[in-house]
Symmetry: C2
Subunit: 321 residues, 2 copies
Amino acid sequence: MAQSRVSTVADLGEFALIDRITAGLPGSPAVSVGPGDDAAVFLVNGSAVVSVDLFVEGVHFRQEWSDPFDIGRKVVAASVADLEAMGATPVALVLGMTLPRDTAQAWVDQFAAGVRAEAERARIALVGGDISQADRIVVSASVTGQTDAWSPVLRTGAKPGQLVAFCGRLGWAGAGLAALARGFRSPKAVVDAHRCPAVPYGAGRIAAQAGAGAMIDVSDGLLADLAHMARASGVTINVESDRLDVAEPVGAVAAATGRDPLDFVLTGGEDHALVATFDLGDVPEGWLVIGSVEERAADDASFVLVDHVVWQSAPPGWTHF
Amino acid sequence: MAQSRVSTVADLGEFALIDRITAGLPGSPAVSVGPGDDAAVFLVNGSAVVSVDLFVEGVHFRQEWSDPFDIGRKVVAASVADLEAMGATPVALVLGMTLPRDTAQAWVDQFAAGVRAEAERARIALVGGDISQADRIVVSASVTGQTDAWSPVLRTGAKPGQLVAFCGRLGWAGAGLAALARGFRSPKAVVDAHRCPAVPYGAGRIAAQAGAGAMIDVSDGLLADLAHMARASGVTINVESDRLDVAEPVGAVAAATGRDPLDFVLTGGEDHALVATFDLGDVPEGWLVIGSVEERAADDASFVLVDHVVWQSAPPGWTHF
């Protein structure tokens, strides 16, 4: 990536690099100590809600498909989605990052600009981090949220009789990835969705306030993540396929690649929609009902069904090994 | 590392691997949701204190010098040291980890055992994590501590007239690294110190309670870290060399490698001793006075001196680029 005349992170050095990323960072009323000390210090209202996500070059993103600004945005969006999925409000973000020595300073500047842009949208404060050299880029994003006066919404709380509803997008990022993998750069809407998901910020808290039983964010794919929820709750979840819309650009990719468009919606990962269960009458505005929670018919019954049968298709979601 | 008959993490799969690491994890009264949901949930008393550290294979550790148990211990110890350096009490740890597909399951088991052993010593609860494949091992350790009723001790609070004192070890890990780099496996005490630092758990909180002005943990080397503190506080720190003891095994490595033993004590990193400033009469038991805080003589004066002159030696501390 770096040519001989490009200024690299090795030219800059570790501390100047950190200064460059953190200079003029906006403050937050909750944060009393930001970057620059051994640790950051901030207030948490209620319980702390904490998660970490890794983003590995060549696994979670490719430099030829995503520019550094988008990668920075995606790191924040995908991480904050875990807080949303607990019904928590985002508070603070710390980043760990390994960089090859020949990474251009401009790459880091654009990555940092993407982090800041998305952090502002997600209302989370970047409060610290760590940087090391390595032969490829790995970013770890650790996020802290707060419950305020609300109980966190776990994966274990789905109860038979509840409705299953989602908020956000399904199948967009997966369709974008499929398009990129075929060498296309369009449809732009789904390619952009792969580069950075459109997380429905604030919807998790609204679901918690509405009394959601269980909630998860769709990172591995709708069916895979509903199976995680159903297994944790000891229930079966049935999705009704006629309640699922296929967005126009997702349908276009399905047509171009000869795949079932529903397959993108049901198994495409990385959109970070929120999916939750609600008692009848409790489904908040902006959430779409797509199925229901049922008793498990038998110990060996499937945890997730589509129109009451097991969905047969491409691998149901992404697994790392 | 892995041979064809060794069971690898690729055989196991992501979710089984996580189950293996988290099975039977000890609980903590503060933690209401541990591993297995989108995020962990726990109580923080006072303000939250948060830091992240990266550990990169080939940069922070080498498999031929450290076994996985020691690497697991070091990840926890070095990370918790940042909380100690704020005067905070450790609460919760989340780990991110990239692993090559051919990593032996036994490696992960031993790493996890090391994490648990050190987490128990440091009194911090492992509450979650993320795992991904990559071509080398990178671990990110995110730690959360709490201030309780005490103010965090920052790098900025050193005041002229205060004494500088430390608690822990200086030069041990650096001497161990120097021995290993020369192909030796002894003296065992310093080689072990490189493999996992002996962090003085609890000493940070005691310093905060004693009214420490500024505090930092020695990760880059005593002079380098005191310079960070002095710069942040706008002061000069003078170290008196005759107050520094050279431990016997550190002296042995110095003799064998032809280096000044004081150089290990002043510039060796990764021991994670705590160094802090105190008003006269406030230095807690177990802390050794090694110098004092002075007014800066001029805008271009050095931030750190040894016996009132600039220390001349090998590079003063480790920088990543």
